[in-house]
């Protein structure tokens, strides 16, 4: 049974360190929200992640139904909140758009993803 106690001790030690640990950055929430319908074109797209991001290796773009990029191309990580990635949007016509992001967390793990948004008058 000593081996079991040793294993449980290791678990406790690892778990205690987990609170301060870094991790893969996954999307926590977005504005406009994932899969949402917005009335009118929002001026900006904001994405909050579960971890702080490396600005040089984190980006997001918005494309229309034909795959053409429609954002202003100024994607950046907010220097005051490094979990926030944002990009400006021009006035967008009603329709379906796809948000595509690729980010690197400060522990160098890279993740990517996409989601739809809908704009109506």
């Amino acid at each position: 049974m000593r081996r079991i106690y040793s294993l449980l001790l290791v678990t406790a030690l690892l778990t205690s360190g987990a609170a301060a640990a870094l991790a893969h950055a996954f999307l926590d929430h977005a504005l406009p929200a994932v899969g949402s319908t917005s009335h009118g074109s929002p001026p900006e797209l904001r994405l909050w992640f579960t971890q702080e991001l490396e600005p040089a290796f984190s980006t997001v773009k918005v494309v229309d139904a034909s795959g053409k990029q429609v954002d202003k191309g100024d994607a950046s990580v907010d220097p005051q909140d490094r979990k926030l990635l944002k990009v400006s949007l021009p006035p967008l016509a009603p329709g379906s758009y796809k948000v595509m992001w690729r980010v690197t967390s400060v522990d160098t793990h890279t993740t990517s993803g996409s989601f739809p948004i809908q704009i109506v008058p």
Binding site: I4, L14, T15, A23, F26, L27, S112
Partner: protein
């Protein structure tokens, strides 16, 4: 005494025939064999494009990683039979997954077995198992990934009491294994896009085929990822706890050369935190042959993502390269 061996996926114990003449007896013995379904190897989570394949409890996922399963606890009721009263077994397992390169890794695992009742109280360490596994380049757009691996169980590294009782293998074995995972996120199926399927197929080859039969082992899982729904399909206004759940069902079966197919159906749920995961599943006997040797059990696991907890030390590959030049 017949030797015992386990299939590579479900950790089913198979009592093998000591000779060809005992083939009929072996069939009976196999049908009554103690079936203990538990995780055995390389329980890591894997990322492919938008999809995260979580660490499943009974079978393996299709990727490699730096992770630790500690503990995995399996409770199995044992019905009365063969003149023995009913009993129960509790298995305390652990597994350490380590990447050698970004796409090549190994896993080391063992477990402490206890049995109460069922004719004889028993306890002791199981044989050590090592897995070498290579993750092939994944198709991010199609959330599709494949791995191949070899699992080796080293007989003689476990408790002599368990060997004498025929509970663990007295003959080493090797299992070439194929793994695959497919997320359905690339299909236009709306709220079904969070679904994913993983499969595992292995053929366990005994070192002494005449005393321990080879075994086909196969498993699959169907998962519905609430994190995927929340991040890629539709953000629901629900408490955060629910957005981290992955309900799933795992089906794990094994077919020895001699004896009936046995296995389990395991519905349950996983909770995905940033650096750890916890899961619990019921383990329901899949057929009558399995029910002869076990009742419906429960498996639970606490799982740590070492690549996220120790990204600059224990959690990174030994060599910062990969075999396929993809990452």
């Amino acid at each position: 005494m017949p030797s015992a061996s386990r299939d590579p996926l479900t950790r089913c114990w198979h009592t093998s025939a000591p000779s060809v003449a005992a083939r009929a007896l072996a069939l009976l013995a196999a049908s009554l064999a103690l079936v203990i379904a538990a995780p055995r190897h390389a329980l890591a989570h894997a990322v492919c494009g938008d999809r995260v394949f979580p660490a499943t409890l009974v079978m393996d996922d299709p990727g490699v990683g730096d992770e630790l399963s500690l503990p995995t606890i399996l409770y199995t009721p044992i019905p009365a039979g063969g003149g023995n009263p009913s009993g129960r077994s509790i298995d305390y397992g652990f597994e350490w997954d380590k990447t050698i390169t970004k796409d090549l890794g190994f896993a080391f695992n063992d477990d402490y077995f206890t049995r109460y009742g069922a004719g004889q109280n028993l306890n002791g360490w199981d044989n050590i198992t090592l897995t070498l596994k290579d993750e092939l380049p994944c198709s991010e757009a199609h959330e599709f990934m494949v791995s191949v691996g070899v699992i080796r169980e080293f007989a003689g590294t476990g408790s002599q009491r368990l060997i004498n009782a025929g509970v663990i293998a007295s003959v080493s074995n090797t299992t070439p294994t194929f793994y695959a995972g497919k997320g359905l996120g690339d299909l236009p199926i709306g709220y079904l896009r969070p679904l994913a399927v993983t499969v595992e197929l292995g053929y366990q080859v005994s070192d002494w085929h005449s005393t321990s039969p080879n075994v086909w082992a196969y498993a699959f899982s169907v998962q519905y990822s609430m994190p995927y729904l929340q991040q890629h399909v539709k953000a629901l206004d629900t408490p955060g706890f629910f957005t981290r759940l992955v309900p799933l069902v795992e089906v794990s079966l094994s077919t020895p050369e001699i004896g009936p197919t046995t296995g389990t159906i395991s519905p349950g749920v996983l909770y995905e935190a940033d650096t750890w995961q916890v899961g619990i599943e019921a383990m329901i006997p899949a057929n009558a042959a399995t029910r002869q040797s076990q009742g419906t059990g429960v498996i639970a696991q606490f799982h740590l993502f070492l690549d996220d907890i120790f990204p600059e030390s224990l959690g990174k590959p030994l060599f910062n390269t990969d075999l396929w030049g993809q990452r």
